[in-house]
């Protein structure tokens, strides 16, 4: 044991999921001025200007080869090292320990024994390290989700929560028993209760708020005048008094209704209560108005971005309709993979705009090209869309094994809808003929998906796409059954 632990330099490499590469996780090395270090060679002196020389550094990442499964001597930029595999309880190689300097080309039996005596301990430490890394990754993912939720909360969800808060404040300040806020639809087809407090069970779902026969008479033709039409209905649920005020836009368009209700236990409304009612009604009115304006802006903005994406498609004959195709295929894969309907719609929307970041590229050069997912995501990241949309646009060139761009994210660090979109765009690209090659037929696409399953694509998405191809259920460009392929 002393033989190994006497090595002054040691490096711990950890295998990534999938096990094709190892990353340097921990280093224990002699300081630069240590007299036992080897002298710098002439090349190193030249590079460093001849005055000083740097501590040689080990590679931060190494490819895993078959020989790494056995103890051996390896040559590294830091010199010759003894290399030992770290194996977990299931027999999987999880890392490498490299210690040195090695004294020769052969691994001494005493050093091998020394490592073997500590192998279990090292494996356990590495397992803990990997678990911590996984937890950190999950925490980062959860943090990202919370952030995405906050973004979403800037739109509809937040409005509902704030309206409910204002309603509660209004009730407590006026000492009313109950109340509700009903919001009108864009088409003015009636009111829907969006926040209620103290009202009877089922009130929101059962109350009739239709403009022609419901609880209220409320007509824009009457200047937005609002009053109770159905006194019997109010009486039937025990209401003693109800004061509802209309919430209107600046130009008199109906937004909703704010109502205070008493069942006989609260304080009767008085003039001071009217001040409070008016103040809270104005706050709610402003919030609904702003939400409606922002929603309209967001819809129009997204339509513009979609139009920009289609204009990009039109620059080349072979790419006409590309975004629409990717959108359809992404939605189909998402649904087949079992994503919920909101995520399916996010995949659809992301497909419509996924390459819009290319619009910022004047010359289509590679340097900018690799950033187009980030640029595209930044164009829509502020919109009140499902967070999966911007996340997918940002991640549609990431690979499941971490070899994609621009972030090099891997596995479940890649947003779920992004993994869908990556698969969809690949299929559309492969199936679309261009100037130099025909579109690939379904059988070829299936082969490609199977080969890239787990490396480029999330296996779940690749499998879903294969099932859809088998069923001929994807709206891909018509491809010849046989033909020249490059």
């Amino acid at each position: 044991m002393a033989t190994l632990s006497e090595r002054p330099d040691a490096y711990l490499y950890v295998a990534e999921p999938g096990g094709r590469r190892l990353h340097l996780e921990h280093t224990k090395a002699r300081p630069a001025a240590d007299p036992t270090r080897m002298a710098p060679g002439p090349l190193m002196q030249t590079l460093e200007g001849g005055a000083e020389w740097s501590v040689p550094t080990p590679p931060f990442e190494v490819a895993l080869g078959p020989a790494d499964h056995h103890p051996r001597v390896v040559t590294s930029p830091v010199g010759r090292l003894y290399s030992f595999p770290v194996v977990d309880a299931a027999g999987e190689l999880t890392g490498l320990v490299q210690a040195g300097p090695a004294l020769g080309d052969d691994l001494p039996a005493a050093v091998a024994r020394s490592y073997a005596e500590r192998a279990d301990e090292i494996s356990l430490v590495l397992a803990v390290t990997r678990r911590e890394e996984e937890l950190r990754s999950r925490l980062a993912s959860a943090t990202a989700q919370v952030e995405a939720g906050r973004r979403l909360a800037g739109s509809a969800v937040d409005v509902e929560r704030l309206v409910a808060l204002l309603l509660d404040l209004g009730l407590s300040s006026t000492r009313s028993d109950a109340g509700f806020v009903a919001i009108s639809g864009e088409g003015r087809d009636g009111l829907t209760v969006r926040a209620a407090s103290g009202m009877p069970d089922g009130f929101a779902a059962t109350v009739d708020l239709s403009p022609d026969s419901g609880l209220f008479d409320w007509s824009a033709a009457d200047g937005g005048a609002l009053f109770l039409r159905d006194v019997e209905a109010a009486d039937a649920i025990g209401i003693r008094s109800l004061l509802a005020v209309p919430l209107l836009t600046e130009d008199g368009q109906p937004l909703g209704v704010f109502a205070l209700v008493n069942f006989g236990t609260g304080e009767p409304l008085d003039e001071q209560s009217l001040d409070l009612l008016e103040a809270f009604a104005e706050q709610i009115r402003l919030m609904l108005n702003n939400a409606r304006l922002f929603g309209t802006f967001a819809d129009r903005y997204l339509t513009t971005v979609e139009g920009l994406a289609r204009a990009l498609d039109a620059r080349r004959p072979e790419s006409v309709g590309h975004h629409d195709l990717v959108s359809d295929v992404a939605a189909a894969i998402a649904r087949e993979a079992g994503l919920d309907e909101e995520e399916v719609d996010a995949a659809r929307v992301a497909g419509l705009v996924h390459d819009v970041g290319l619009a910022a590229s004047s010359d289509g050069g590679w340097e900018f090209d690799v950033e187009h997912p980030s640029v595209g995501a930044s164009l829509i990241g502020h919109l009140p869309l499902h967070p999966g949309v911007a996340g997918a646009v940002a991640a549609h060139h990431e690979w499941f094994d971490g070899w994609g761009f621009p972030q090099g994210s891997r596995g479940e660090d890649i947003p779920l809808v992004g993994r869908v979109l990556a698969t969809a765009e690949f299929l559309v690209e492969m199936a679309t003929p261009d100037a130099v090659r025909p579109g690939r037929p379904a059988a070829r696409l299936t082969d490609e998906l199977r080969q890239r399953r787990g490396s480029q694509f999330d296996p779940r998405m690749a499998d879903a796409a294969v099932r859809l191809l088998d069923q001929d259920a994807l709206a891909l460009p018509a491809a010849p059954l046989t033909g020249r392929e490059t």
Binding site: D217, G223, A225, F227, L228, V231, V245, E271
Partner: protein
């Protein structure tokens, strides 16, 4: 809710006392329904002693106004207290109703009409 019915120069004046809310709205509806009984009816509701009105009370008044208009009768409101006038404004029903500052002004206007 209490009330008194008088007639001045052919105008029936219904003076209402107290609060008008769901618990009293149906009583008010019956009272007004009985008075708006012909195209010749002229009905003025005196709200000077009404402390507060809610959406149900306003609904009864607007319905009475529409019913009178449909029959060719005349219906109006007089002397709402500040809080009541404010509720009419907040609910935007002040534009739907004929509202006079006082009973005297209302009677004079309706007598001429």
């Amino acid at each position: 809710m209490e009330h008194q019915l008088t007639e001045t120069d052919g105008v029936r004046v219904l003076a209402v006392h107290g609060r008008i809310d769901v618990s009293s709205a149906m009583t008010l509806r019956d009272l007004l329904g009985a008075q708006i009984d012909s195209p010749a009816a002229r009905v003025l509701v005196d709200l000077s002693d009404v402390a507060l009105i809610d959406s149900s009370g306003i609904g009864i008044l607007v319905t009475a106004h529409r019913r009178a208009f449909g029959q060719g009768a005349n219906f109006a409101i007089a002397a709402p207290a500040a809080a009541v006038a404010r509720v009419f404004a907040m609910t935007r029903t002040n534009k739907l109703l004929a509202i006079y500052d006082s009973v005297e002004v209302g009677v004079a206007a309706m007598r001429r009409g």
